[in-house]
């Protein structure tokens, strides 16, 4: 016996192969029959890339984002793998819609193929379930907030909603168990069910054969090789589109890590759920259940009833029209959602902020300190560049400005009534303060009661009269005072001008500048105005913002400046973040070339 005969006798593989490859295709191979195969191909691709991702993914609220970050930015080809998985999921949704359309238009759902159709609908739902669960797994802001909304909508399901939500979320709050559950569904339960239903779907398909598109243009042919070739070309085309998207977008997006206390106004679901998201806007308080559950449920029921409706005389036309209407309606809603966001400047700001934080956290994660065991969310919470502007907007911007805005680019309700703090204590900032033309503008003392104070008078009267010699001295004094701050941005010029700064220090307490008349500098002078020793340094600023009414600073003449530390308006940690941000002290990644 030849070895292959032996193998066939033991396994019966020839019969199987014959059945698989020589299925009859009535009317010969056609391009319109490829959609089912492209979907199987996508699923196989998702299984392969998904398992590879699984080897590196860790579902918990301290490690999910971190492990995805690691895949995306540190592992060989990780961005490409994740990109393939991400964009193939989107391709699958599109192909599902196309496949459904083709089946309905060709009448392939009608008797005796009801079960074939129903198993297909079920596969559609399961695939959407994969998208919904997969969206959360990176545990970034986008996935977190979209899932919060989705599971809150689940909770309005009549009778069992709240319990259902609690089961899905894995407790009363989102956390470790939300991830373990979503992951078990995403990587185990749903794919398992999909495999079962694909087997059933193909079994039913083979049982009743293909529904030919009339008129048949050619004689019947076997599945192999003509139809297989067409299927293969279609799969290649799908892959080409996916790879193009992956490469063009440098893989899938990864937002900043989920933070339940950080609002995320850019929250939007994946694009193919946008129509549902938009739909909900039209259901005023309390009628949401119609938009979220009843109407979509009815539409699905109508879809499932198509085989029966199709028996009716005009049924087929009704089915086709219904599907077109649903698709067009969804498309219209999607367009509305996108158009509204495009027209909304707040949304653009929110998206820009989200991108900034996503980028920043990666910089911090790649810093020498790396990601602490508490997770990457700590990196952003302790980053002056991220928190400084927010804290400034919350606590300082009702009086101060930063470069003309509230730190975040917005405009507070009231006009500025205290100094603009961008570049505080830098040479430039001090030169403006000591400029007779600028000292009394709102940029400096204009909005405060010091507008008529001694300092303004000194600048406007004495400094205004300075001759060239004195101007030189003033320049040295500014350099010396600014050097007290030890600003990172001035490190080089401070070092370069060391000799000049020494002269400046002398001038500061000397008879011409005579700052010591009202300020204490390195032990000399009268404490009328704020102390100038260490002016603008971290210690000085922390102490000043902590208690501006301290005798070392304004004392009793303090003008409306809250005692942020003394009165516990902000915590020492927040104070440090504001000061570090004002002083430009934050981690800056080394230039790419030296990495």
């Amino acid at each position: 016996m030849k070895p292959l005969d032996w193998l066939d006798q033991r396994t019966g593989y020839r019969k199987l192969a014959h059945e698989v490859l020589f299925e009859n295709v009535p009317g010969g191979a056609r391009w319109r029959y490829v959609w089912g195969s492209t979907l199987v191909f996508c699923f196989v691709l998702q299984v392969i890339t998904g398992i590879a991702l699984w080897f590196a993914y860790s579902p918990s609220s301290q490690t999910a984002w971190e492990s995805v970050y690691y895949i995306q930015h540190e592992m060989w080809g990780g961005w490409f793998l994740r990109g393939l998985h991400h964009y193939t999921a989107q391709a699958m949704t599109v192909l599902l819609a196309v496949h459904l359309m083709q089946v309905v238009i060709d009448g392939a759902y009608k008797a005796p193929r009801e079960f074939n159709f129903w198993s297909g609908i079920f596969l559609l739902c399961l695939t959407l379930g994969l998208s919904l669960t997969g969206y959360l797994l990176p545990w970034d802001q986008k996935g977190y907030w979209a899932t919060r909304v989705a599971t809150n909508i689940l909770a309005i399901t009549p009778f069992v909603g709240p319990e259902l939500q609690q089961l899905v979320v894995g407790g009363a709050d989102y956390g470790h168990h939300t991830l373990t559950r979503f992951f078990a569904l995403h990587a185990g339960v749903i794919p398992g069910a999909i495999i079962l239903f694909i087997v059933a779907h193909i079994y039913f398909f083979r049982r009743h054969g293909l529904t030919p598109k009339e008129p048949r243009r050619r004689p019947d042919a076997a599945f192999w090789p003509d139809q297989v070739l067409r299927d293969a070309v279609a799969c290649l085309a799908v892959l080409a589109v996916v790879v193009f998207l992956v490469v063009r977008n440098r893989g899938a997006e990864l937002g900043a890590p989920a933070d339940p206390s950080e609002p995320f106004p850019a929250a939007r679901p994946e694009w193919y759920f946008l129509f549902l998201f938009e739909f909900l806007k039209y259901f005023p308080g309390g009628t949401e259940v119609w938009g979220a559950i009843v109407i979509p449920g009815l539409l699905m029921a109508l879809l499932a009833a198509m085989p029966f409706i199709g028996n009716w005389r005009l049924g087929h036309r009704f089915n086709v029209a219904f599907l077109w209407i649903v698709l067009a309606g969804s498309g219209w809603l999607t367009w509305l959602a996108l158009a509204e966001d495009r027209a909304n400047p707040d949304h653009a700001i929110a998206v820009a902020a989200a991108q900034r934080e996503a980028q920043r956290v990666v910089e911090l994660a790649r810093s020498p300190a790396g990601i602490p065991a508490t997770g990457a969310v700590t990196l952003l919470r302790q980053d002056p560049l991220t928190q400084g502007p927010k804290l400034f907007a919350r606590h300082c911007a009702s009086c101060h400005r930063f470069d003309g805005h509230d730190g975040l680019g917005g405009q507070p309700k009231d006009a500025a009534s205290a100094a603009d703090l961008k570049g505080f204590a830098s040479r430039e900032w001090l030169a403006g303060l000591l400029d007779p033309a600028r000292v009394a503008t709102p940029h400096y003392f204009g909005g405060t009661k010091f507008k008529n104070g001694k300092m303004v008078k000194y600048v406007r009267e004495d400094v205004a009269e300075y001759g060239p010699e004195d101007r030189k001295l003033l320049e040295f004094t500014i350099a010396a005072l600014s050097a007290e701050a030890g600003l990172k941005a001035q490190r080089d010029i401070d070092r370069r001008d060391e000799a000049l700064i020494v002269q400046g220090r002398e001038a500061l307490v000397g008879p011409r500048m005579n700052c010591a008349d009202c300020h204490v500098f390195r032990g000399t002078g009268d404490a009328v105005g704020p102390e100038l020793t260490g002016y603008g340094s971290r210690e000085w600023l922390v102490a000043f913002i902590g208690n501006a009414a301290h005798p070392r600073f304004y004392g009793e003449r303090n003008d409306r400046m809250p005692l942020f530390g003394e009165d516990k308006v902000i915590t020492p940690g927040e104070l440090g973040l504001i000061v570090d941000w004002l002083r430009g002290e934050w981690f800056v990644p080394p230039p790419a070339a030296t990495r």
């Binding site: 609690q166 009363a172 949401e288």
Partner: protein, 181 residues
């Protein structure tokens, strides 16, 4: 391949054997299934932590003009096996009232839980998700808003004349009544 001989039809008196096979089969499945189900249903008995009053901010940090300001609420967060003290568990808008008291509104939108924004220019709250809008006291402004109820107000207390304490909790989204979760 030789064809399989057809099995003999089961005899009626085999009933006992059939019943026994079904019961034993069921038992072998019930035990693993039930033990799995039990763990699967465990989250149903988990209650949210907290509900007690927590210190949120100093009165001095709340703008005197009655304009709302957002503050994170720090408390102990329990996430399954982790217990982390002093981390943000949510956020509130605090506003001073003319009578010297403080109003606290949970920032979570009662529609589906997005965080609402205070819009200084319009002096009201707006939800960036499905466009619900709320007045400063939390009332729904636009009747077309998808939110089924006003923003959730929380009990506050000013301790020692300077510290604002809030009984922080979340409420079920999407329903008319304010039901704590």
């Amino acid at each position: 391949m030789e064809p399989h001989p057809p099995p003999p039809a089961p005899a009626r008196r085999n009933f006992l054997a059939q019943a026994a096979a079904a019961v034993i089969g069921a038992i072998t499945l019930v035990i693993p299934a039930a033990s799995g189900l039990l763990v699967l249903l465990d989250p149903l008995r988990r209650k949210p932590a907290g509900g007690g009053a927590v210190f949120v901010a100093n009165l001095a940090a709340v703008p005197a003009g009655g304009e709302p300001r957002k503050f994170p609420v720090l408390a102990t967060r329990v996430d399954a096996w982790n217990r982390t003290p002093d981390v943000p568990v949510g956020a509130v808008y605090l506003q001073r009232l003319p009578d010297g008291g403080v109003r606290a509104l949970n920032v979570a939108c009662p529609h589906a839980g997005c965080f609402v924004d205070y819009k200084a220019a319009r002096d009201n709250f707006h939800c960036p998700c499905h466009n619900s809008s709320f007045a400063l006291d939390g009332r729904v402004l636009d009747p077309k808003s998808p939110s089924p109820r006003p923003l959730d107000s929380l009990e506050t207390e000013v301790r020692g004349g300077t510290e604002v304490w809030v009984r922080f909790r979340n409420f079920r989204a999407g329903v008319h009544e304010k039901i704590p979760v």
